[in-house]
């Protein structure tokens, strides 16, 4: 009995939205560097998947750079990966998207050194009538984006299937299907464009989460999503689509994870939650957006500070979590200031009392922070005295 696998006529790896050079300005510079590097490293893994699956081609459906003129590091790094002899012999198609449109002077410009460094098996979609035979029984049609924004449907601009053409037809464009917000001005793509133009698979890019539009559609229109997330809240990012086309021109799509980082937003309002987060496994691969809102008595406050320090790391010590974007309100619970400062000199006790009184006024936050400073200083100077 023949299986579908036996019947596979074409295998493709479909990816998009690498956003090489994305700056991550909302992160600390050292964290931004990690995230930026990860975007280049994932390309290596994607091409590795293509080798592993023995794919016939790799389709890269736009927004491969975050800007049409990326810094040299990014295009040089990409050219270096693409030139790895391990990946030679398998055509790779690079499509300009709306972030990196094909315009004069862009990285896609034939005069750009990036183009000159690309090996022969890498093809840039730089014509509106771009087509490329994928063996004898299949063909790829693609159109590049030429501006940041447009209301033109690129998919409907692809050529129709001509009568008698029985080849597997693959389309590749970059844009938003009409169910997406602001699709009408972001290279809109009709949901039925794949059928109307007689394609067997429409490879698209733009949305950063993996999606088949509409779900279970045949023939399918597929967003593979960004292989590394670009921000918090991007559901189902971090994959590529591996596509198996049968001789009967039916597509089967596998979602294959490739991301180094997983992004997660966590809010902590109790010390137990913080302890549980600290104890979790696999934090090294997490980008945590950690919002801490804790008001704790002295001993617990010290513990919370320690846990956060260990999670985030210091200049000398690697943190338990990969990257932490911390927003914290970690304050001393000084409701019982009398007891808290009982063993201090009278002047400091009186100071603590006054600050405690001020926490009920308009400058409460400043007063609480001042109390915290006083507590920490008293603790430090007491230990100095003991020394």
């Amino acid at each position: 009995m023949r299986t579908e696998e036996d019947d596979v006529a074409l295998k493709l790896v479909h990816t998009a939205d690498w956003h090489l050079g994305l700056r991550f300005r909302q992160f600390e510079p050292e964290d931004a560097v990690k995230l930026r590097r990860a975007r280049l490293e994932v390309v290596d893994r994607i091409l590795g998947e293509a080798v592993r699956y023995q794919a016939d081609a790799v389709l890269c459906a736009g927004d491969l750079f975050d800007d049409r003129q990326p810094e040299d590091d990014w295009w040089e790094g990409l050219a270096k990966i693409l030139s790895n002899p391990r990946y030679a012999g398998r055509p790779v198609f690079l499509l300009p998207g709306n972030h990196d449109p094909y315009v004069a002077g862009s990285v896609w410009d034939p005069a750009h050194p990036f183009r000159k460094q690309l090996p022969a098996h890498v093809h840039v979609v730089d014509r509106d009538d771009f087509s490329f035979p994928l063996g004898e029984g299949a063909v790829l049609h693609a159109i590049p984006c030429r501006s940041l924004s447009s209301s033109k449907d690129q998919a409907l601009a692809l050529p129709e299937r001509t009568p008698g053409d029985e080849r597997i037809r693959i389309g590749m464009v970059h844009g938003s299907t009409f169910d997406m917000p602001d699709a009408q001005t972001n290279f809109p793509i009709a949901q039925d464009a794949v059928r109307r133009r007689g394609f067997d698979y429409l490879a698209i890019g733009d949305t950063h989460g993996f999606r088949i539009v509409p779900p279970d559609a045949r023939p399918p229109t597929v967003y593979p999503g960004a292989p590394e997330p670009t921000k918090f809240g991007e559901d189902d990012a971090g994959h590529v689509a591996v596509v198996f086309m049968t001789r009967r021109r039916l597509a089967r799509v596998e979602k294959v994870p490739v991301a180094r980082w997983r992004w997660e937003a966590v809010r902590v309002t109790t010390l137990d939650q913080l302890r549980a987060l600290h104890a979790r496994d696999g934090l090294q691969s997490r980008v945590l957006k950690l919002e801490v809102d804790l008001v704790l008595p002295p001993r617990e406050l010290q513990e919370a500070e320690r846990l956060l320090r260990e999670l985030k790391g210091t200049e000398a010590v690697q943190g338990r979590a990969g990257i932490v974007q911390l927003r914290q309100r970690l304050e001393l619970d000084a409701t019982d200031a009398e007891a808290l400062f009982a063993d201090l000199p009278e002047t400091l006790q009186a100071t603590a009392r006054r600050l405690q009184e001020a926490t009920g006024g308009t400058g409460a936050e400043v007063a609480r922070r001042a109390l915290q400073h006083l507590y920490e200083l008293a603790r430090a100077t007491r230990s100095e005295r003991r020394d």
């Binding site: 700056r23 300005r25 909302q26 992160f27 049409r68 003129q69 709306n98 972030h99 449109p101 315009v103 004069a104 002077g105 030429r146 501006s147 940041l148 924004s149 447009s150 209301s151 033109k152 938003s176 602001d182 009408q184 001005t185 972001n186 733009d206 974007q325 927003r327 201090l344 000199p345 002047t347 400091l348 009186a350 100071t351 006054r354 600050l355 001020a358 400058g363 936050e365 400043v366 007063a367 922070r369 001042a370 915290q372 400073h373 006083l374 200083l377 008293a378 430090a380 100077t381 007491r382 100095e384 005295r385 020394d387």
Partner: protein
């Protein structure tokens, strides 16, 4: 404050004395009456008494007329030297100067004369009001602090009763501030120092946030500024993008609405056109029906007329027969009458007989014969007349038919004319359409040419921008290379190094406090001396030297010893050492790594790197703007081939055309014509269609008229044939024949009348001849006449009936010939066809006129113009959307916004932290101030504790009020008034208090034989206390018992300066000679 040198001349018993005073304990000793107290008095006078004061008279030298003179050199807390010199005398002899110096060698005058004391009192801030004025005191002022520090020997206990309450504010304030530090708990001090350091790091002395390079706010503020600028740019891009998106959406919606409107308007035009076409078609068809009906009716009328004429002809035939029969009867009666007349004549002849009679008879017979011939001629003339009348009637019928033919020809000519007109109209519309198409093509061509020129200009601009971008990139590359070459550290690293250096300076400054080492080598030595870590200097020889430093003194005698004296307590030293080590680990390493000589150089390096980075960022932004502009030009440049192709196509289309004429036509086109191309084209098409339809209708009508004309002309031809035949038969024209017949008849009638009159004459002759026969003859003649008349009448009637019959017959023939020319069946068939066509034509749901159609077309035209405008708007909006950021702009805006929020949160935390440190410091200070304002509370503990130690715990404490007035001592838990104490104990308490005040102020104190009534045990305690105090302040003791202070001084020679006054002092009195 520390006294350095005192020089006294001519002051009471002292002629001259010069004393150098060291830091720490100075024991000035000498025997009683040597002048120690005078020396102390001179010192007080130098500092406190104006040179012009009358009290100075007491200072008059005991010998000679000299002016008392005192010169005192002292160091203030900032390390500056002051030298006050006063000469106490009357008037101009009184002199005072105050000098200032940084090194005690080079002096500058600070004040002179009266200003000296004002300046001094401000400098000392001891609570002594300025000299003169209401609050100024006369004589030697006695403020609490001056009494505590320089109290007179005779008034040693005065301090116990004195209060600071009435002193000037500066004294109280100074003491209050001094006591804060004096009474501070070390932990409080540490907390305050740390809080102060944090505040100083962030705030200026005026309490404003620092903005300089070292400020922690600087970087974040700058980053926020940059991000805000960036965000504004992004927001601008986003607004442009959203505006373009809205424009696209609105244009799309507007176009949709207008398309609906156009559809409705087109539908209305179609309906109106349909109604008008139906109405016009029916009207025209109705005209054809009417025309056909008139033709059938004409044929029916012709047939009716033929039938009527046939009936009339038959009746006339019958009438002719009847008339001929009547004529025959009348002629028979004439024959009978003639026979009767013959008989009568015979009778008459018989009666008249003779030749005349016979002649008459012959004559009469001749006349009658002529009469009969005339009758015959008259009948013939009447026949000719009737024939002429019939011919005339025929001619009239022919003329009537010809007239009808003329009418039809006229109509046909008009129809032909209309056809020609319509053909010309059709040609003109065709020409208009071609011209209009040419004008459109020409206008499109002109536009395309302009677009091509625009696109070419855009391409040139893109090339220029490209070059500019390349240059900018090169500049950025150069700047980045410079930046890389700078090897500049990050702002955080620079800040860290600065902070380390600051903390190190603070820590080392905290070690300060003043060190003084006196080196007295017992033999000549070479000593390497290092002060405060600065480079060593070499001391050679065996001279005694005094070395002073703030934090450390190192003395090295090579091969013998190394001595290091360090100021500050252990914790501060450790802290300073830690920071030095930290500096070595981090700060120095950073400086070495970047090759900076010091922190300032490091900052400068960072500043230059920062400037380079900003320049790169600014140029990067400019580059982005250039790229955006160039990207904006992209679609126009990309469109160039298409535009050129379009232009070529339009040029090809117009090839061979008269372009000048087309240009002229274009110039004559009304404004806004391009907005009405579609309606104009539709209107031309409608005109062409209408003209073609009208032409077809007119051609059909012309054919109809031609057929009708042919029928009428055939009728005319038939009638004319008959007429010609009749005219031929008549031998002349009918009119002439009629005229001739009438003339003949008239002549015949005349002849008949003449013949009759001749006959009547004959008859009258006959009557005369025959009487009997005349009557018979007359009767016969009458009968014959009657018979003739009747016969003639009958004859005329026969002729009339025949003429009428012939006329009817001619008419009938003509009608029949007409009828033969046309076919009723065909006419009826034509009518039926026309009626069938009319029936088949659709009936409009409502009548519509051309005006209705024109109104509907006007609406459609307006809507189409709006649709075209909306289409252009949409195309423009869709074109514009390609020049904006769209989703990319939105994402970049959000990215910058998040980065800005992060920096703002950082800034908020920094501000919160800074405000918190400030609040903590201010609150601490406030609490301390509140505490220290009660001076007694601040000082009481220290004084009480020392007094308790001094008295072996007998007195547990001292009660000092808020103004430092001693209220009581605590004995066994109860307060006891000080006046109950012994003199000695009161002396001791006063000394403890004075020492405490001097220590709190960090000032020198002069004790003049203060403990004369103190036992040995307590004196020993005092000696220790003085030595301890001398570690931080200068203590000047004037005593006649130097041994009381010597034991420890001998054990540790550096612990006190023992100064024997005796050899230094020249006395001016007689007693001096005894010394």
């Amino acid at each position: 404050m520390r006294f350095v040198r005192l020089v006294v001349d001519h002051f009471q018993a002292i002629e001259h004395c010069e004393v150098e005073l060291a830091a720490g304990l100075n024991v000035l000793y000498g025997p009683n009456d040597l002048g120690k107290s005078t020396l102390a008095r001179a010192l007080r006078a130098a500092l406190l008494l104006p040179s012009t004061s009358t009290e100075a008279r007491d200072y008059t030298p005991w010998l000679g007329d000299h002016v008392p003179r005192v010169s005192l050199t002292f160091l203030d807390s900032t390390g500056r030297y002051h030298r006050v010199t006063k000469e106490f005398g009357d008037g101009a002899r009184a002199q005072a100067t105050l000098e200032v110096s940084k090194d005690g060698k080079e002096w500058d005058q600070d004040a002179a004369g009266r200003e000296v004391d004002d300046r001094l009192r401000k400098l000392l801030a001891w609570g002594i009001p300025a000299p003169g004025g209401k609050s100024g005191t006369r004589g030697l002022p006695r403020a609490f602090i001056s009494e505590a520090l320089l109290g007179d020997q005779a008034e040693v206990q005065q301090i116990l009763e004195q209060s600071i309450e009435k002193d000037a504010d500066d004294g109280k304030l100074r003491l209050s501030r001094a006591l804060q530090g004096f009474a501070q708990d070390p932990q409080v001090k540490a907390v305050l120092a740390r809080a102060q350091a944090e505040v100083a790091r962030v705030f200026t002395d005026k309490g404003l946030r620092k903005r300089d390079k070292a400020s922690p706010f600087r970087d974040v503020t700058e980053r926020i500024g940059l991000l805000r600028t960036d965000l504004e740019n992004r927001a601008e891009e986003l607004r442009a993008s959203e505006g373009a998106e809205r424009a696209v959406q609105e244009a799309r919606e507007r176009l949709g609405e207008l398309e609906d409107e156009r559809h409705e308007a087109a539908s209305a035009v179609q309906k109106a056109g349909d109604r008008v076409a139906k109405t016009v078609a029916r009207r025209r068809c109705q005209e054809v029906v009417d025309l056909a009906r008139r033709a059938v009716n004409a044929i029916d009328a012709l047939d009716g007329k033929i039938a009527e004429r046939t009936g009339a002809f038959a009746a006339q035939e019958r009438e002719v027969g009847q008339r001929e029969e009547a004529l025959a009867r009348a002629r028979r009666r004439v024959g009978e009458a003639q026979a009767a007349l013959e008989k009568a004549r015979e009778v008459a002849q018989q009666l008249a007989g003779g030749a005349a009679e016979a002649e008459r008879k012959l004559r009469r017979a001749e006349l009658e014969g002529r009469l009969a011939a005339l009758s015959q001629r008259r009948a013939e003339a009447e026949d000719r007349r009737e024939k002429a009348r019939a011919a005339l009637e025929l001619a009239r019928s022919a003329a009537a038919q010809e007239e009808q033919a003329v009418g039809i020809r006229g109509k046909a000519a008009k129809e032909r004319e209309r056809i020609e007109q319509l053909r010309r109209e059709l040609e003109k519309v065709g020409e208009d359409r071609r011209s209009f198409a040419d004008v459109q093509a020409y206008a499109r061509g002109e536009r395309a040419r302009k677009s091509v020129e625009d696109a070419q200009a855009a391409a040139a601009e893109a090339v220029r921008l490209e070059r500019a971008a390349v240059e900018l990139k090169a500049e950025i590359g150069g700047l980045e290379a410079d930046l890389g070459a700078m090897n500049a550290p990050s702002a955080e690293v620079v800040q860290r190094v600065q902070q380390l250096e600051q903390e190190l300076k603070l820590a080392e400054a905290a070690l300060g406090g003043g060190l003084s080492v006196t080196v007295r080598p017992s033999k000549a030595l070479t000593i390497e001396a290092g002060l405060d870590g600065r480079g060593a200097r070499t001391l050679k020889g065996d001279e005694a030297r005094e070395l002073e430093a703030e934090r450390s003194i190192e003395l090295v005698v090579k091969g013998v010893m190394e001595l290091r004296v360090v100021a500050g307590d252990a914790a501060k030293r450790r802290r300073a050492q830690e920071l030095r080590e930290a500096w070595g680990r981090e700060g120095a390493k950073v400086l070495a790594a970047v090759g900076a000589a010091d922190v300032a150089a490091l900052q400068e390096r960072w500043r230059r790197a920062d400037e380079a980075a900003r320049a790169i960022q600014a140029k990067g932004a400019e580059l982005e703007r250039l790229e955006a502009r160039r990207s904006g030009l992209g679609p126009r440049v990309d469109d160039l081939p298409r535009l050129e192709e379009e232009l070529a196509g339009l040029t090809q289309q117009l090839q061979g055309r008269d372009l000048e004429a087309i240009r002229g036509a274009l110039q004559r086109m009304p404004a806004g014509w391009e907005g009405r191309i579609a309606p104009t084209t539709a209107e031309l098409e409608a005109r062409q269609t209408r003209a073609a339809a009208s032409l077809a209708t007119s051609e059909a009508a012309a054919a109809q008229l031609a057929a009708q004309l042919a029928g009428v002309e055939a009728t005319v031809k038939g009638l004319r044939g008959q007429l010609e035949a009749q005219a031929s038969a008549l031998g002349m024209s009918p009119e002439q024949a009629m005229e001739a017949a009438r003339g003949d008849l008239q002549a015949i009638e005349g002849e008949v009348q003449a013949v009759k009159e001749a006959i009547a004459g004959l008859d009258r002759d006959l009557a005369k001849a025959a009487d009997a026969g005349r009557k018979a003859l007359e009767s016969a003649q009458a009968q014959l006449a009657e018979g003739n008349e009747a016969a003639e009448a009958q004859e005329r009637q026969v002729q009339g009936a025949r003429s009428a019959r012939d006329s009817i017959g001619g008419e009938l023939k003509s009608l029949k010939e007409q009828a033969a020319q046309v076919s009723r069946a065909e006419a009826v068939a034509g009518l039926e066809r026309a009626q069938a066509q009319l029936r088949e034509l659709p009936v409009p749901d409502q009548e519509a006129t051309e005006q209705d159609l024109e109104a509907a077309k006007a609406v459609l035209q307006r809507v189409e113009a709006e649709v075209q405008q909306a289409s252009r708007d949409q195309a423009q909006a869709q074109g514009a959307i390609q020049g904006v950021g769209g989703a990319v702009a939105r994402e970049r805006f959000e990215e910058v916004q998040q980065a800005l929020e992060r920096e703002q949160e950082k800034q908020r935390q920094l501000e919160l932290d800074a405000d918190a440190w400030k609040l903590l410091r201010d609150t601490l200070r406030d609490v301390e101030t509140t505490t220290s304002q009660h001076l007694g509370r601040a000082l009481g503990a220290a004084v009480g504790q020392r007094f308790s130690e001094l008295t072996g715990g007998r007195y547990a404490g001292v009660d000092l009020d808020a103004n430092l007035q001693v209220g009581a001592v605590i004995v066994a838990g109860a307060a006891r008034a000080t006046d109950l104490l012994s003199e000695g104990t009161r002396d001791q308490l006063a000394t403890v208090l004075r020492l405490a005040i001097a220590q709190s102020l960090g000032s020198a104190v002069v004790l003049d034989d203060h403990l004369v009534q103190t036992d040995r045990t307590r004196f020993a305690w005092f000696r220790e206390a003085l030595h301890h105090a001398a570690q931080s302040i200068q203590v000047v003791v004037l005593t006649c018992r130097p041994d009381d202070y010597l034991p420890d001084a001998k054990a540790n020679p550096k612990s006190a300066s023992m100064i024997d006054l005796e050899p230094m002092m020249r006395r001016g009195s007689a007693r001096a000679s005894g010394v």
